[in-house]
């Protein structure tokens, strides 16, 4: 990652305008061509510096629901359970954490009533109890990592 990539990553976290040529402004600010901007974004994705690029959808505004779930997975079963949990398209992300509750994943569903169904299916397929921790209140969201 060079300096141009660093500025690009910071700019991309702020977001692009909705217009026909959304990369033009960034290209001008960085002094590189639009093609170089898109090539660099592609490379940052390939190198997994960026995990996604595009519109970020708000599941709740789409009428869907989100919840955070935790499981206590025996170490010996961790890989198997990871595969089983990740196979559900409703699992938006999943993290291993150091704790007795060692697997934490976010469920995003298009219909709120689907959350309970997915949780039951995950419990059945993995044999692990799912602790459901939906948010009750939200105080701040704004992940921004300066590089």
């Amino acid at each position: 990652m060079d300096n141009i990539d660093r500025v690009l990553v910071n700019e991309l976290q702020d977001g692009l305008p909705v217009c026909r040529r959304p990369f033009d402004a960034i290209s001008t600010r960085l002094g590189i061509s639009v093609t170089e901007v898109t090539d660099r974004i592609g490379k940052l994705l390939d190198d997994r510096v960026l995990s996604r690029f595009g519109p970020m959808f708000n599941a709740e505004r789409l009428g869907g629901a989100l919840t955070l779930c935790a499981m206590q997975v025996p170490e010996a079963d961790f890989e198997r359970v990871t595969e089983q949990v990740n196979a559900f398209p409703e699992v938006a992300h999943n993290y291993a954490r150091e704790h007795d509750l060692n697997m934490w994943f976010v469920l995003a569903t298009e219909r709120p009533e689907r959350i309970a169904g997915v949780i039951a299916e995950i419990e059945t397929s993995t044999g692990c109890r799912v602790y459901d921790m939906p948010k009750r209140d939200e105080f701040y969201i704004g992940l921004k990592l300066p590089v």
Binding site: L12, Q13, D14, G15, V18, R20, R21, F23, V34, T38, D39, I41, G42, L44, D47, R48, V49, L50, S51, R52, G54, P55, M56, F57, N58, R61, L62, G63, G64, L68, T82, N86, P89, V91, A92, H93, N94, Y95, A96, R97, E98, D100, L101, M103, W104, F105, A108, Y131, D132, M133, K135, R136, D137, E138, F139, Y140, I141, L143, L145, V147
Partner: protein
């Protein structure tokens, strides 16, 4: 108290859904990405842009941008700090914790007693664990007497990170 907040859903029609499904894995990396989406779907580019702008205005699209992989950016330590504070104070305390610059997400969530007594979650990011620990100390001193216990859960691996996916 305890009511789950459900923001009012907005109507998206079949064409909006086609657009969402075309870009949910990522925006095409070309000079005019929405034209590419329009061509793929057989729509007019102006209509696609109007719909995308409307979805952003309604908060269906939070923003169009990048999700960084914080490990790759040098933010190797990510501690989910969890706190047991009185329910009557969680809204006021959560707001103050959420304002700290090193806190990326801050939520009230239900306890699962006796295993899980924590009702306030604050995600703390840092380049290393020392930075995260310093942040956690700052939260602890802010919560002071109101806190009846806390833990920090460090992530050791990203197992999956795809974001919301609509299914066809």
């Amino acid at each position: 108290m305890n009511a789950v907040l459900h923001p009012r859903p907005c109507r998206v029609d079949a064409i909006d859904r086609q657009i969402i499904m075309a870009v949910q894995a990522g925006l095409p990396l070309v000079e005019q990405p929405w034209d590419a989406v329009a061509e793929q779907l057989g729509l007019d580019p102006d209509e696609v842009l109007e719909r995308v702008a409307a979805m952003q205005a309604h908060g269906i699209i939070r923003r169009i941008g990048a999700v960084p992989n914080h490990y790759a950016l040098g933010y190797r330590a990510n501690g989910m700090s969890v706190w047991n504070v009185p329910d009557a104070m969680v809204a006021e305390l959560g707001k103050r914790v959420g304002e700290l610059e090193f806190v990326s997400h801050c939520y009230e969530r239900p306890r699962h007693l006796p295993l899980w007594p924590y009702n306030l979650f604050a995600m703390v990011h840092g380049h290393n664990r020392d930075e995260v620990e310093a942040g956690v100390k700052e939260i602890a001193s802010m919560l002071h007497g109101a806190c009846r216990g806390h833990e920090v859960l460090y992530s050791t691996r990203i197992l999956k990170k795809t974001g919301l996916r609509l299914q066809g």
